[in-house]
């Protein structure tokens, strides 16, 4: 028996999936959710095998919700129109359904899911990497703080710091951890605003008040908050370029 969760902000869209699923024995819908927050809670609670996920939803997108799950289940995306998402799907998704879709098309997606059940996790990670470059997603960072979800607009970020397998995101409200690499943030955040000043640091240039020399060859950036961010020699070059010095 596969446990299924449907996440979509439109009730009728959920009812179509539900209706199409009736044919498939061995599939049980354990919960329907109207947004990413509910979805996240339900996934943690039920540990489903498969989720149907819409992309455009209130507050956080389907992609952002998936990012917050450590071991994402198999995902079949359902979306009406999102050029960027479709590009990401084509490359990496198990399957995606473009609304409105037929029972036939739906059955094919289910068949695909049953075939490749095992390797789903890996695909999802790659998909999220691809989707993270979408314009909507470089404007904010979504993190999990205990059981709470925190949405950080990128202009609120002071700087990012590498911390083992995580990245520490420093904000006015303290720091948040996100299970991503520095390279991920360097490639997704706007390079005109966020500069990799050091192997372990990415700084928001709008927060810098001054840059002082520090030891030999190195510099240190002083932020408005008073925080000090190390700047390597190559980082100094990049900063100078962005700041137009």
């Amino acid at each position: 028996m596969s446990k299924v969760i449907i996440i979509d902000d439109e009730p009728l869209a959920r009812s179509v999936v539900n209706e199409y699923l009736q044919k498939h024995t061995g599939m049980e819908v354990v919960q329907e959710c109207a947004d990413g927050f509910e979805g996240l809670k339900a996934i943690q609670q039920h540990q489903p095998d498969l989720i149907f996920l819409d992309i455009q939803m209130p507050k956080i997108t389907g992609f952002e919700m998936l990012e917050l799950i450590d071991q994402p289940p198999a995902v079949i995306f359902t979306t009406a129109y999102d050029e960027f998402a479709i590009k990401a799907f084509e490359a990496h998704a198990i399957d995606y359904l473009l609304k409105p879709f037929s029972q036939d098309r739906f059955d094919k997606a289910i068949a695909k899911y049953t075939e490749q059940k095992t390797e789903n996790g890996k695909n999802t990670q790659e998909l999220l990497e691809a989707a993270a470059h979408s314009p909507a997603q470089n404007q904010r960072v979504v993190v999990k703080n205990g059981s709470k979800i925190k949405i950080i607009p990128v202009h609120d970020v002071f700087y990012l710091e590498a911390a083992d397998d995580y990245v520490k995101i420093h904000t006015p409200e303290g720091y948040f951890l996100k299970n991503k690499t520095m390279n991920h943030f360097e490639s997704t955040l706007d390079p005109q605003q966020f500069v990799r000043s050091h192997r372990s640091y990415i700084v928001n240039v709008q927060q810098i008040t001054r840059i002082d020399p520090y030891e030999k060859d190195n510099h240190i950036a002083i932020l408005r908050s008073g925080a000090k961010v190390p700047v390597s020699r190559s980082g100094y070059g990049k900063l100078k370029e962005v700041l137009g010095l």
């Binding site: 009730p11 009728l12 109207a34 209130p58 609304k99 409105p100 949405i151």
Partner: protein
């Protein structure tokens, strides 16, 4: 039309000017003792050639306008042309009026004054020609510029519609798909509403003015569709003063404003959403407010949809040459509420319709 009129005016002025010049010369020659017949012939020949040269200058200017640093060339051309004119007319006048006694002497003694007048006339014609064609060029340039802007604007609006519609359209079709199985009557109604809505978007021209009542009827279709999509999450309130209903506004002006309100008030909030629209008459202006909730943490209606509201602002600017007709304000949440409120104000002057 305007260009043709001004060309006709230019020709009339040109002819009158030459008639005056012609008569003047006849009178002066007669005053100095030349009989009427000979004076007429003299003046006719001189002014005919002067006019021919002037027309030559004007026609040249039509295709070739000198730029700032070439005025010295123009001066020398005027000098040269007036000398040419003098030699030519002197030759012809001698041939045709040489029989009259004392005419040769009169001609010889008046050469310098003839030259001065010729030079002055040609100089003036050149100056006026340059000014006139310069102005025309400027005018054409401005018209081209405004045409280009209009085209760009239309393209931009078209693109905007394309960007906004597919998401709405496909999701609506998906809702219909869901309703067909369970509630076919509602599915049928929604197909009707969606068709009417789409027809309205295609049919209406941006230049058309409609009454508020008409625009609201059309918006109602859109809101009804959204209500089906989102179930009872969406509530709308529309308050229109009696006097405001028949007031006019540019077609499809409210549409992007309400779309913006839906985008932030409904697509990006959780739970029930109330979108309100107030319209009233204020003097000779139609005053409209659209009020929606929004969450500042995940969206900023001011920047995010920038283009939705910006295109409205631009249209209002092009229609009324004012930038203060569309304003927005955000209100922090009242006690016990979580979302901020976003208010869009639009004023539509009723003058100049």
């Amino acid at each position: 039309m305007a260009a043709a009129n001004s060309t006709i005016r230019f020709r009339i002025v040109f002819i009158i000017f030459w008639l005056i010049l012609f008569t003047d010369q006849v009178l002066v020659l007669n005053y100095f003792g030349l009989p009427w017949k000979e004076a007429l012939i003299d003046s006719g020949i001189s002014n005919f050639w002067l006019m021919l040269l002037s027309m030559l200058i004007i026609n040249t200017l039509r295709f070739y306008l000198p730029r700032g640093n070439q005025y010295i060339n123009i001066f020398s051309i005027c000098v040269f042309l007036s000398i040419l004119w003098l030699i030519l007319t002197r030759f012809i006048l001698k041939l045709s009026l040489g029989y009259y006694e004392g005419y040769r002497e009169l001609l010889q003694s008046s050469l310098s004054i003839r030259y001065s007048i010729g030079f002055l006339v040609l100089g003036c014609v050149t100056m006026i020609g340059i000014l006139w064609f310069n102005q025309k060029e400027q005018h054409d340039y401005e018209r081209r510029k405004s045409d280009a802007e209009k085209l760009a604007r239309e393209a931009e609006l078209f693109k905007l519609r394309q960007q906004l519609q597919p998401h709405f359209l496909f999701n609506s079709l998906n809702s219909i798909n869901a309703l067909i199985g369970s509630r076919p009557e509602e599915a049928r109604r929604m197909v009707q509403q969606l068709s009417d809505f789409l027809r309205g978007t295609i049919k209406k021209e941006e230049t058309q003015w409609v009454t508020l009542q008409e625009e609201l009827q059309y918006l109602q279709l859109y809101l009804e569709i959204e209500k089906v999509r989102f179930g009872n999450r969406l509530a709308t309130e529309i308050h229109v003063d009696e006097a405001a209903g028949s007031m006019k506004l540019p077609a499809l002006l409210l549409q992007p404003i309400v779309e913006n309100a839906i985008k932030f008030g409904l697509y990006d909030t959780i739970g029930e959403t109330l979108i309100r629209l107030f319209a009233k008459k204020n003097g000779d202006q139609l005053e409209i407010q659209v009020i929606n909730p929004f969450d500042p943490a995940t969206s900023s209606p001011r920047q995010g949809t920038g283009f939705g509201l910006k295109s409205v602002q631009r249209r209002l600017y092009l229609l009324f040459a004012r930038t203060d007709l569309l304003t927005v304000e955000t209100v922090s949440p009242a006690e016990g509420e979580k979302d901020n409120t976003f208010i869009t104000h639009v004023n539509i002057p009723q003058t100049g319709l």
